[in-house]
Structures are given as C-alpha cells and as structure tokens.
Amino acid sequence: MIQTLGRLSEQWLDSDFPLRQSAVRALQVSTGLTPHQVETAIDACFSELTEEKIRTFVEVEQLEPVEEIKVLHVLPSNVFTAWIHGAVITLLMKADCWLKPSTHEPVFAPLWKRSVDQLDPLLGQRIRIVSWTPKILSEVETVVAYGSDETLNRLRQELPPTVRMVGYGHRFSVAAIFKEALQTTERASLLDRLLADVEPFRLQGCLSPQVLYVEGEIPEEFGPLSRRVDRMPRLHRFETWSEVEADLWSQRGHLSALGYAGPWERVQALRPNLDALGFSRVCPLGEMQRPPLAWRNGRLSLVEALHREPILAKSDGNA
C-alpha cells in the first residue's frame, strides 16, 4: 500500500496528470483560488506523501492496523487538502475511509478517490464518498471533523457514545523574522518564502501566517507585498521576544504553526516559550504549508486517537 500511495502522489505531482488538471479547473470554482494557488497547494500536499516519506512515517510511528473499522472524515472547505493526511493515515491503518465533502468544496475528495480507483481498485473500495444521512454517525467507529467550534460541538452532541471523535477546530499561525535574517544573504529570499506561505489558501488556512513579526525595522522590500497577494498578513515589529509573547498570550491554545527566518539556535532557545503558547509546528519560513505526515495537528496524533477507547478520544486540533 505504501508503494501505491507513493505512486499516487507522483501522479498528483505530475502537471500532466488528467485528474490533477480536472482538479485545478474544478477547484477554482469551489474555492475561488487561482490556478497557481490550487497547483501550489496540491504540490505542497503531495510532496509530503511520497513513498519514502510515507515509509519513514510508518516506521517511526510503528503503525499497527485497526482493521474492520470505518472512519468518517467530515471535510473542511477552506483548505481543500487539509484532510488528505488523515485519509492516508486511515488507509495505512487498514481502516475504511469515508469522506463527506463540505457543502462549499465538494470536488477534491471525489477526484482523489477516482485517482485511487484507477491505480488500485481494491484500495479504492475502502474509500467511500458519502452524503449525510441520519444514521451515518452510528455506521462508523470514528469521526474526524474539521470546522468551527460550533460545528464540532454539534457533532459531538449527535455522536453515539461508542464513536470516537477527533475534532480539528479553529487555529491560526504566525511568522517571525529575526534580525539576523535581515543582515545576511538570507534577506534576499525572505519575500518569496513568505509568499509561499501566504499564497496557497489566500491566508485562510490554519497554517497561513496571519501576523508577521519582524525584529527591528520592517524591511522596505515588504512594502510591495500587498501588490503581489490579495490578502497579506499584518506586520508587527518587535524588539524583544517578550513583546511577541505578550501579543499572542491570549491566543494560546489557538495557535498552530510558527514559521521563522533566522538562526535555528534562537528558535531552539525559545522552545519552552513556544510550547507554552501551544504551537504544534515550528518550521522555517516558506515551509509552513508543507506539514509532514507526522505533524500532530493540534498536538493530536490521529494514529493514537484511532487506537484509543472511544470515550477518551476527544480533541481540538485545527484545520
């Protein structure tokens, strides 16, 4: 299966792959994103799902199958690729993967399933695109859902007690540029790296940096940023990290990723502070939209959740 899923990613990374081309056309309608934004998001998603990366994930996580269970994924609309990692993990654990597309973005899941059907019909049989029925929550063992806290709470209330629920709620990300990055050759690449994080989902994803903290003066080359993207992060300058912390402290628990530019050592020194703020991912600027399969979205391991007893499996992650 690892080989199949890796091969699947190779296909999706190939710009001539017909289903990718269909997706680029259809997703412009369901998301309002440009072809470039859609393609960037597809590339970011499947480049983390290569055979090698999946194999490493399986080995590190020591995946044990949870056969004979069905996992219903209630998909988000804002980040059309957000559910793919969860679906792949579901398949790797040999569970059946049911996908309920969102009201607003109903196209990517059926196209992905079609690509699996073409490559491995048997594996494709384990994926179902489902519509909502009154009984659906009692037909599965686990529900993985993305959405607002209101949506997740409503699902929890409707859930039979024997069904696990993994909920990915609202979160957001920020980026930080340390002064060292502005004093070296790194500076030349900063704008492009920031754009790589800002562009894919028009700043609507939980991994999109809503705020860019810059140590010292904000570089003048960031001025034209608003001409290159239709939405841009707020720019805040800081002198000491404690100012950033103070700014974010009230949001701890709602933070997802920190993208940084500057010395890794400075970030390492801040690790306890970042943990206290609740960041589940710290990565270089430009890599924010490429979470690895092992990323614990909302500090939650889907692998662990699928093994847990239903009553204990409750979490708030992000989408």
Binding site: S131, L155, C206
Partner: protein, 347 residues
C-alpha cells in the same frame, strides 16, 4: 424548438413558466457552455444526464465569483456589464459577468413593479447611493439606476456624492414634496437612511410625505454603533418621513444574482419571484433543513442565464411560509476558514 433564452425571458416578463423544466434545461446549457462550471460538475459526476431534478443541480459557492476562472457561458471580453460586490478591507470582491442586461433588467423591472412601483404614475425617485459615474461596477447602483430610468419621474436623482450623503439637498426635496403634495420614492442602503435619520434627529426635523410615497432600503441593519431591528427601522421611517409600514420595503439581493427578494413593513420574510427558488441548507450535512431551522441559503435563479443559476450563499436564513427570514452572514470556519478566528483576535 423554442430557444431557451426566449422561454426564460417570457417567464421573467409574465411570471408564467415551468420552473422545473427550465431549470434543467438551463443547467444543461450552462454545463455545456460554462467551462469552469462544467469542471465543477464533472468532478462530482453530476452531469445533465445524471441530474433529474432541479434540486440536484450543483450550486457553486460564492467564492467561485471571487477568483479563479470567470463563470460565464461566453468570452468575458464580450460582457455587457461586470457587477462587483462591495467588500470590506481585506476581502476579495465578487465579479459577476453579464453577457446581456436583458435578463437582469427584465427580472428587476418585473419584481420592482410588483413590489415598489405598482402605480402607473411616475414620482420622483431619491436615490441614496452613488451614481453610476461614481460606482460603475456596483450592482446596487446599476439596479437603482435602471428602475429610476424606467419608473422615476421628473426631479429624480442621486443624493450621495463622493461618498457623502447630501442631506441638505435631500431635505429640500422632501420639503418640496411635502408642500406640493407629490409623493416621492426613496431608495437606498439602510445605512444611508439611518445616517439621514440621525441628521434629522439632531436638527429636530421630520417630514410628512404625501400618501403614495414609498421607501425601499437594502443592506444590513448593523451600524458601527449598534444593530437595530427591522421594527425600529420601520418606526423611524414612519417618524421621520411619515411613510407607513406597508409602504416600507426591504430588498435583499447580491451581485452574483440577477433577481431580488423583497419583504414588506416589519415582516422579515423575504419573497422572491416565481423564477427563483431557494433552499435552506444545513452547512454540516449539506441537506435541506426543515421549517423553523436555520441554514445557508441556496438560490436557483433562472435569470442568471449566462453565468450559473445555482448559488450556495454564505447567508444564514430560516425557511418560513414560502419565503425565508434572513438571519445574517455565516461566520463559521466551515465556510471561510480558521483564519476568521484570528481576525477577531487581531482586529
């Protein structure tokens, strides 16, 4: 066989036609000629041969009008008009390309004459919106300009210039109407009327407009200071203009649609024309909700001939007596994204 456009145009003019049959025929046409929409439908394997009921016609989210490929059955260089939505800072406006204004104007005039201008007489129209010269892509401005030219009498005009309400000129016009005994028709955004009422209140000024005067407002009731209820608004219309409740209409429309909905007086129940149907959709399940339950409005507008007829909005409403009650704009991340939470924190 009669051309689809002619059948729809007749429906818009007369209110007579088979919605179900025309909806399926229009879907087949849009599937055939609107390439991005076709891709959207094909991805879901919902093609004209699969779709047997108008309720199954795939509805595009509002986001589809905000970027990506234009949703048209024609080359957008040939567009007769492009309507843009108003948008707040940081939001991407919608763009709706119209191949011809025939359907838009026919639908508008039919609805407007039924709700706002039932009389044959032409009274002066006071428009509390910017003129087309100042807002060339505003669908609201365009709409009011069309009805002013069709139904308005001598002395009609715009009372917002360079973003400012010309309350002095408007006051003079209303005073003259009061003195002469000629009714006037006031059309504009709810916020513009509220701004005028505030001025009137400061100056301790009220008008008793002649019987036959009417008012139509559109847009939200949310001001920067506070939200006001429909009942409060209608009371203010009565107090400052002397226009009774049954001559006070509320309009709901969007630049992505070619038809409008209206509600009368303090009633919040919006009603559309016979060529438009609306569903209320549960955002989680995607299924239609029952009476009394809230959900997202999904409109099927036959007047959207050369774009897409089925539109999934982000407006929350509740189905009521063959109409719907508008309850606001959805804020949940199931629609927009988790970044919304951040906006609340950092505003």
């Amino acid at each position: 066989m009669e051309k689809l456009e002619l059948k729809i145009e007749r429906f818009l003019r007369t209110g007579q036609g088979s919605f179900d049959a025309l909806a399926l025929e229009l879907f087949a046409y849009q599937f055939e000629c609107n390439t991005p929409y076709r891709a959207f439908c094909e991805a879901q394997q919902r093609t004209p041969s699969e779709v047997k009921d108008w309720l199954e016609i795939p509805a595009v989210p509002i986001q589809a009008f905000k970027g990506g490929a234009p949703l048209t059955t024609f080359s957008c260089e040939r567009a007769a008009a492009v309507f843009h939505s108003s948008s707040t800072t940081g939001q991407t406006p919608s763009q709706h390309y119209l191949k011809t204004l025939t359907f838009y104007e026919t639908a508008l005039k039919s609805g407007f004459s039924a709700w706002i201008a039932p009389s044959e007489k032409k009274w002066p129209f006071c428009l509390l919106v910017p003129s087309p010269g100042e807002a060339p892509h505003s669908s609201l401005t365009w709409m009011l300009d069309v009805v002013m030219r069709q139904f308005g009498g001598a002395g009609s005009g715009y009372f917002i210039q360079r973003g400012l309400l010309d309350d002095w000129r408007l006051s003079r016009m209303l005073a003259r109407a009061q003195t002469d005994g000629h009714p006037v028709v006031l059309l504009g955004t709810t916020l513009a009327f509220l701004a005028f009422f505030e001025q009137c209140s400061k100056q301790n000024k009220t008008f008793r407009l002649p019987i036959g005067s009417r008012l139509m407002d559109t847009g939200g009731m949310k001001t920067q200071k506070r939200d006001i209820s429909r009942t409060e608004f209608v009371e203010q219309v009565e107090r400052f203009f002397g226009i009774p409740e049954d001559a006070c209409l509320n309009e709901y429309g969007m630049c992505e649609m070619s038809s409008q909905f209206y509600a009368c007086g303090t009633s919040s129940r919006m009603q559309g024309p016979p060529w438009v149907r609306t569903q209320v959709i549960d955002p989680v399940t995607g299924n239609a909700v029952g009476p009394g339950e809230s959900g997202l409005l999904r409109h099927f507008d036959l007047a959207n001939v050369d774009s897409v007829m089925a539109i999934q909005t982000e407006d929350v409403g509740e189905w009521r007596d063959q109409g719907f009650v508008l309850k606001g704009r959805a804020t949940g991340a199931e629609l927009k994204g988790c970044s919304l939470a951040a906006e609340a924190y950092f505003k």
